[in-house]
Symmetry: C2
DNA sequence: ATAAAATGTCAAGTATATATTGCATAAAGA
DNA sequence: TCTTTATGCAATATATACTTGACATTTTAT
């Protein structure tokens, strides 16, 4: 599924996919596909994105409905 | 670096690496290497582990010193 | 003391995240 | 209009997450 939180956080910082990609050391396509929900990024990339946007993992990558305890 | 938080959370649930691996659909070696800090799991695997242990991404995978805002 | 369970580790294979390149479209500005 | 910037999409290539199977060591239980 799409990652709107990431798109919003990026908009808050007013930076392009390309700019974010450069800051975290990947390509524009990788950021685009993460926002489009087309794949499953690595933890280290998620952490780099969070740091670049001043957010935490839960802020950007924890879905509310992932929050059910077992 | 080692992921002690995961090891502790697993201990709290009193389940083995093998049992956790089965619950999240990977092999024992994969869980072992994540705890040992030998690699970089995918986001979906991190989320599956969190759900299996009743934790969030920040609980298990967010290092305090990753928390510096840019 | 012995067996069983849990963990560490290694080598080789498979699946997939990510890179690279290129093309297309839309919006914004000169 | 023309150019630039931002984004989407797709094919191929490479790096690496993850598997499989096996053996060794440690821990726990009998």
């Amino acid at each position: 599924m799409k990652n709107l939180k990431l798109k919003v956080a990026r908009a808050e910082h007013d930076i392009s996919q390309d700019e974010l990609a450069k800051r975290v050391g990947v390509t524009r396509q990788t950021i685009g596909m993460i926002e489009a929900g087309k794949f499953n990024p690595s933890l280290q990339l998620c952490i780099a994105i969070c740091k670049a946007l001043g957010k935490t993992l839960n802020d950007l990558f924890w879905e509310e409905n992932s929050n059910e305890k077992i």
